[in-house]
C-alpha cells in the first residue's frame, strides 16, 4: 500500500512537472468563422492550430501534435507538409475572394506538397513515396497513387511558409489526385488528429452528412516549423475545414432530403405577371434573408469548449459571425457576445460544457456586408473536338481598373496529354470587348518547363505572366492525346481522364500572405477502345483457325477414295491385311471357278 501510494505520488509529480513544461512551449487554438454569402449560402471556416516545441517533437513528446502524423513525418524526413482534400467549386463571381486567400485550399480531389530533407533528388523521391504510402493509410485516401507520373517539382509556384535552417537541403515535391473522392472516411481520421477529437468544442459540428453535401468544401492539414529570431523553434500544425453550405438544402431533414413540390397554397406567387392564374405561378423571390441556426444547418449543436484551448493564456473567441450589427442574433443562455468595432463582426464565447446554438431569424437589413472583389478570376477548359487533338484555354480576368496582376500559372499535366508549347497564344480583351491577338511572349515574363516522358512523368509547366488592368487574357495551347495500352485504361475509361487543376499564385499582393487560385479539374476524353473487342477478335480468330486448320488437316490425312478402293486401303492394318489375304484367296477360288465355267 505504501509503495503504491509513493508511486502514485511520484507519477502525479511527474505529470505536473511535465505538463508545466509542455504548457510553456505548446498551445492550442480553435476558431469557427461563419459568414453568410449571397444566394443563401453560408461559409463556415473552422481552424485548429497548435504549437509544439521542436525539442518535444524531436523527442516524440506529443501533446497536441498527433502522434500518428508526427511519426510519419519523422520517418519520411518531412520538414513541411501541406495536404488538401477538396470537393466542389468555389463560385468566385458570387462569393468573392476565397477564404484564407486560397492558401488553405487545394485542387479538386487530393493535393499534397511537402519539403523533404534529403541529400539528393533520388533519395527525396524515395522518402516522398514512403510519405505518400503512409499518408494513404492514415487518411484512407489513395495517396499511394502519387507516383512519378503524378509528382512534380515546382520551382516558383510554392515557397516554404515555415522557417527552415537549411533550405538548400530541402526538396519540394508536389502531387495531385484530381479524381480522388473525398468522403466520410477522410473526415474520420482528420477528426482523430484533433486534440479534442470531435468530442468537445467547435469540432463537434462536423458531420459527414452535411460536410459532403456542401457546395464547396476543403479540408487541409499544414505542418511547418516556426522559429523566433533567437532560435527557439516550434512545430505548428494547422488543420482547417472550409465549407459553403446551401442554407435551404442543409435545413432539409436527413430522413427526407429530397425536395418535394410545395402545395399550391404554400406558393408565394408574383401576381403582377399577366399569366398569373389559378394554375400558373411565377414564384416570388424572398426579400428577406432566410432564417437559419447552427442546429438546423449543421444538424447538431456545438458542445462546450475544447478544454485544451488557450492554455497559454491568450483566450480567443471560439465562434465569430460576420453579419451587420443591426441584425438580430439569438444565442444560448450562458454564452457571451462581443461586437467588434468594424460594425460587421461579432464573436461568441460558448459556456464550457453546455450546448451552444446560434440562430438568426428571418429579417430584412439593408446594410450589406462589404464584399471584396477577387484579385483575379480564372477558368480553364478543354476545347477542340476529335479523338486525336485538343486544346487548353485558360481565361484570366482582371477586375481592377488600375493595377495589373502578376502571377504564376502552374500546370501539372498527365503524360497522356502532350502539350505543344510553341502553340501558346494569347488574346487580350479590354472592357470594350474587342479581342486583340498578341504574342504570348509579350505577357509571359518567364517559363519553367519540364517535358513529359511517356509512362514516366507528366508535363510540368510554370508560366509567369501579367494581365493588364481592366482586361481579360485568354491563353490557349494545343495538345495531342496519347493512345494508351489496353491494360492502362481504368475500369471506367469512358468517363474520361482527370486532369489536375491549374494552380495560380498571385505575386504582387501587399500583405505577406500568399494568394492562390485553383481552377477546376478537367475531364479529358481519350480514344477508348471497345473493351469487348479483344474477346471478339480472339473468338473470330479461333474460329478462322479452327476452320482453316480443320480443312487443311482433313486434306492432309484423309484420302477420298471409292468404296472398292476403301477395302484395299483397309489392308494396312494387321487385321485388315489378314482380312485382305482371306478375300484374295476367296477371290482366287471364285475366279478359278468362273474360269472353269
Amino acid at each position: 500500500m505504501t509503495t503504491f501510494g509513493f508511486l502514485s505520488l511520484l507519477l502525479a509529480l511527474a505529470v505536473t512537472l511535465w505538463s508545466s513544461y509542455a504548457s510553456a512551449s505548446s498551445d492550442y487554438h480553435e476558431q469557427l468563422f461563419l459568414q453568410p454569402l449571397p444566394q443563401s449560402s453560408l461559409l463556415a471556416s473552422f481552424n485548429f492550430r497548435s504549437n509544439t516545441s521542436q525539442q518535444a517533437f524531436d523527442n516524440q513528446h506529443f501533446r497536441y501534435f498527433p502522434r500518428a502524423l508526427g511519426q510519419i513525418l519523422q520517418h519520411a524526413h518531412t520538414k513541411e507538409l501541406h495536404l488538401r482534400f477538396t470537393t466542389g467549386r468555389w463560385d468566385a463571381e458570387s462569393w468573392g475572394p476565397r477564404p484564407w486567400g486560397g492558401s488553405k485550399e487545394g485542387g479538386t480531389g487530393v493535393e499534397l506538397w511537402a519539403w523533404i530533407d534529403a541529400p539528393d533528388d533520388d533519395e527525396a523521391f524515395g522518402k516522398w513515396i514512403a510519405l505518400t504510402q503512409s499518408l494513404s493509410g492514415l487518411f484512407c485516401a489513395s495517396l499511394n497513387f502519387v507516383d512519378s507520373t503524378r509528382t512534380t517539382r515546382p520551382v516558383v509556384s510554392f515557397e516554404p511558409t515555415g522557417d527552415h535552417q537549411d533550405v538548400d537541403g530541402l526538396h519540394l515535391l508536389h502531387g495531385t489526385l484530381p479524381g480522388e473522392v473525398v468522403c466520410t472516411e477522410n473526415l474520420t481520421p482528420f477528426l482523430k488528429l484533433l486534440p479534442c477529437k470531435g468530442k468537445a468544442g467547435i469540432s463537434t459540428l462536423f458531420d459527414g452528412h452535411k460536410l459532403f453535401d456542401a457546395a464547396w468544401q476543403s479540408m487541409s492539414v499544414d505542418m511547418r516549423p516556426i522559429c523566433t529570431s533567437d532560435g527557439d523553434c516550434v512545430v505548428q500544425i494547422e488543420q482547417t475545414i472550409d465549407m459553403v453550405l446551401d442554407v435551404e438544402r442543409s435545413k432539409r431533414p436527413r430522413s427526407n432530403p429530397i425536395p418535394r413540390p410545395l402545395s399550391n397554397e404554400l406558393l408565394a406567387c408574383d401576381t403582377s405577371k399577366p399569366y398569373n392564374s389559378e394554375d400558373t405561378c411565377f414564384p416570388l423571390e424572398k426579400g428577406a434573408d432566410a432564417a437559419w441556426s447552427i442546429s438546423e444547418v449543421f444538424g447538431r449543436t456545438l458542445t462546450g469548449v475544447c478544454p485544451l484551448t488557450g492554455s497559454d493564456g491568450t483566450q480567443e473567441h471560439s465562434v465569430c459571425l460576420r453579419v451587420p450589427h443591426e441584425k438580430q442574433v439569438f444565442i444560448t443562455e450562458g454564452s457571451t457576445e462581443i461586437k467588434k468595432e468594424d460594425g460587421f463582426t461579432r464573436c461568441f464565447d460558448p459556456a464550457p460544457v453546455q450546448p451552444f446554438d446560434l440562430s438568426i431569424p428571418e429579417q430584412t437589413v439593408d446594410i450589406p456586408v462589404p464584399r471584396e472583389e477577387p484579385i483575379l478570376y480564372a477558368e480553364r477548359t478543354i476545347v477542340g473536338h476529335g479523338q486525336e487533338r485538343g486544346g487548353m484555354r485558360i481565361i484570366f480576368g482582371n477586375p481592377s481598373n488600375t493595377t495589373a496582376v502578376d502571377f504564376i500559372l502552374f500546370e501539372s499535366l498527365p503524360w497522356f496529354l502532350r502539350p505543344y508549347i510553341h502553340t501558346l497564344q494569347a488574346t487580350i480583351t479590354g472592357r470594350d470587348g474587342i479581342p486583340t491577338e498578341i504574342a504570348a511572349s509579350d505577357l509571359v515574363t518567364s517559363t519553367f518547363y519540364r517535358p513529359a516522358i511517356d509512362r514516366e512523368r507528366g508535363t510540368q509547366l510554370e508560366i509567369a505572366l501579367s494581365v493588364p488592368a481592366a482586361s481579360t487574357v485568354t491563353l490557349t495551347y494545343d495538345f495531342e492525346k496519347a493512345i494508351l495500352r489496353y491494360t492502362e485504361y481504368p475500369p471506367d475509361a469512358n468517363r474520361g481522364f482527370n486532369v489536375a487543376p491549374a494552380v495560380i499564385r498571385i505575386l504582387n499582393v501587399e500583405n505577406s500572405a500568399p494568394v492562390y487560385i485553383r481552377s477546376t479539374s478537367l475531364l479529358l476524353p481519350l480514344p477508348t477502345p471497345d473493351f469487348s473487342m479483344p474477346y471478339n477478335v480472339i473468338i473470330l480468330t479461333s474460329t478462322v483457325i479452327a476452320l482453316a486448320f480443320g480443312t487443311v488437316f482433313n486434306i492432309l490425312v484423309r484420302r477420298v477414295v471409292s468404296v472398292d478402293e476403301a477395302a484395299a486401303l483397309g489392308a494396312q492394318s494387321l487385321k485388315g491385311r489378314l482380312l485382305g489375304k482371306l478375300v484374295a484367296i476367296r477371290d482366287r477360288f471364285r475366279s478359278k471357278e468362273t474360269k472353269v465355267e
Binding site: 504510402q133 489513395s142 480522388e180 466520410t184 474520420t188 458531420d207 432530403p257 518567364s446 518547363y449 473493351f531
Partner: protein, 414 residues
C-alpha cells in the same frame, strides 16, 4: 480445504491452457466488394452491412480490411449524401460517422487482393492496408460482386478465378496466416468459387449453385436502385436478430440451418470437407469465432528449449547475427583495407555509384534564334550537297552499266 481449492485452481488452469491451444487468439475480417458503378449500390451495401456487424461484435477497425471499389456515399447521384442504406426503411446509416476504408476506388484489384492475403506488399505499405493475421487468427473473408462459373469480376475489368483464390488461401496456410477461415461469397454461381480450395481449416459458404443467379432483395425508390442482395439480407437477418452480443453461443450450424431456399431464391452451399472433423466439428464453431473478437492469450513456457520455442528462436537469431558479423569482417578483410575507417568506406561506395541526375524543370530562355537558323540552314545545305553528289554519281554509274538491274527501285516498288 485450501489445498483442495489450489488443486481445483490448477486443474482449471490446465483445462484453460489445453483449451487455449485449440482456440484462436485474434480475429480478422476481409470484406470485399468488387463492383464499381452506381447501379451496383447493393454490393457496397452488402459489404458495409457486414462491416457494421463485425464492428458491432467487437472486431476493431485496425483488424478489418474494407475494400470498396466505388464511392456510393458521396456519389453525386446519391440523394442522401454521406449515407449508404441496406434497407428501404433507412433505419441504419451504414456509412455513419466513423468509417475506415482501407482500399478504395482503383485500388481494389485482383492483384492487390491477392497481395493482401499473401502479404506480398511493398515495405512502405502502412499497417492499415495489411492483413496482419498469424497462425492464431480466425479470418473472415466476405466477397460480393458479379461472378460466373469459377470466376468473380473485379470492377468490370478483370476477374479472379476459383484457382487463384484457392492458391491464395493455400499460400496463406503455408505462411501460417490463419488458424481457421470462414469464406463467404454472394454472387451468381457463388458455390463454384470455393470448389478448388485445398488448404485445411476452411469453412466455405456461397449463395448459389452452378448455373443459378443470386438475386437482389429489394429496391429503395428514393435511392433509385436495389439496396441489398437476398442471401446477404437473410444472413444479416440471422446475425442481427439472433447474434445480439459477443457472448452469443450460436454456432455456424445454426447460421447455415437458417438458410431458407424459398426466401433466398437460390440454393446456398456449404463446404465442410476441409475442416478437421468435417461437418460435425465445423458446425460447433460459434458464429462469434469469426464475426466477433476474442483476446485469448497463448501462454508459452518461457523456459522451454524444444524446437520452435522462444529460447530456441532467440539462440538461432543470435547465431545468425554472429555469422553475418563474421562474414562482414571477412569481406572487409578481403577488400584489403581493413584499416580504412567506416566513413571512408561509405564515401568510396557512394563515389562508385554513378549519381543518377534527374532532370528538373528548366527555365526557357529567349536565345539568339538567328544562330539556330544558321545551324539549321547549314545542315540542310550539307544534306542537299550529299544528295546532289549521290545523284551525280548514280547517273555516272548507271550510264556505265545500263544493263544492271535497278535493285533499289524494285525494292521500293515492293
Amino acid at each position: 480445504m485450501i489445498s483442495f481449492f489450489r488443486l481445483l485452481q490448477a486443474f482449471c488452469l490446465l483445462l484453460l491452457v489445453s483449451f487455449v491451444s485449440a482456440e484462436h487468439t485474434s480475429n480478422w475480417a476481409v470484406l470485399v466488394s468488387t463492383s464499381r458503378f452506381w447501379f451496383n449500390y447493393r454490393h457496397l451495401a452488402n459489404v458495409l452491412s457486414l462491416y457494421r456487424t463485425v464492428k458491432r461484435l467487437g472486431i476493431p477497425d485496425s483488424q478489418i480490411i474494407l475494400m470498396l471499389p466505388d464511392d456510393m456515399a458521396c456519389n453525386p447521384r446519391n440523394a442522401f449524401p454521406g449515407t449508404v442504406y441496406s434497407n428501404a426503411d433507412r433505419a441504419v446509416d451504414l456509412y455513419g460517422d466513423n468509417i475506415e476504408v482501407d482500399y478504395r476506388g482503383y485500388e481494389v484489384t485482383v492483384e492487390n487482393f491477392i497481395r493482401l492475403l499473401t502479404d506480398r506488399l511493398d515495405e512502405d505499405v502502412p499497417r492499415s492496408k495489411r492483413l496482419g493475421s498469424d497462425a492464431g487468427s480466425n479470418v473472415l473473408v466476405y466477397m460480393t460482386g458479379h461472378g460466373g462459373d469459377q470466376f468473380l469480376k473485379f470492377q468490370d475489368a478483370e476477374e479472379i478465378g476459383a484457382w487463384d483464390l484457392a492458391d491464395a488461401f493455400g499460400q496463406m496456410w503455408e505462411k501460417k496466416r490463419y488458424h481457421e477461415l470462414l469464406f463467404m461469397i454472394d454472387t451468381c454461381q457463388a458455390n463454384t468459387m470455393y470448389t478448388h480450395f485445398y488448404s485445411p481449416n476452411i469453412v466455405a459458404t456461397g449463395s448459389s449453385e452452378l448455373d443459378q443467379s443470386s438475386y437482389s432483395h429489394h429496391a429503395d425508390n428514393d435511392v433509385g436502385v436495389a439496396v441489398i442482395d437476398r442471401w446477404t439480407y437473410y444472413v444479416l437477418e440471422f446475425l442481427e436478430t439472433q447474434v445480439t452480443s459477443a457472448n452469443s453461443k450460436l454456432n455456424l450450424g445454426d447460421l447455415f440451418d437458417s438458410y431458407d431456399e424459398s426466401k433466398i431464391h437460390s440454393q446456398p452451399g456449404v463446404r465442410w470437407d476441409l475442416f478437421p472433423g468435417g461437418e460435425q466439428e465445423g458446425r460447433l464453431r460459434t458464429v462469434v469465432d469469426f464475426f466477433g473478437n476474442v483476446q485469448n492469450v497463448e501462454v508459452e513456457n518461457a523456459n522451454a528449449t524444444e524446437p520452435g520455442s522462444l529460447k530456441e528462436d532467440l539462440a538461432e537469431i543470435a547465431r545468425l547475427a554472429e555469422k553475418w558479423r563474421k562474414r562482414g569482417e571477412e569481406y572487409s578483410a578481403i577488400l584489403g583495407n581493413s584499416t580504412q575507417s567506416h566513413s571512408e568506406n561509405k564515401h568510396s561506395s557512394s563515389v562508385g555509384l554513378a549519381p543518377k541526375k534527374t532532370v528538373g524543370p528548366t527555365k526557357m530562355a529567349e536565345d539568339n534564334s538567328w544562330g539556330k537558323r544558321l545551324v539549321g540552314l547549314s545542315v540542310v545545305g550539307a544534306c542537299t550537297a550529299v544528295w546532289v553528289a549521290g545523284s551525280v554519281l548514280t547517273s555516272l554509274f548507271s550510264g556505265r552499266w545500263e544493263a544492271e538491274p535497278e535493285w533499289p527501285s524494285r525494292g521500293c516498288a515492293l
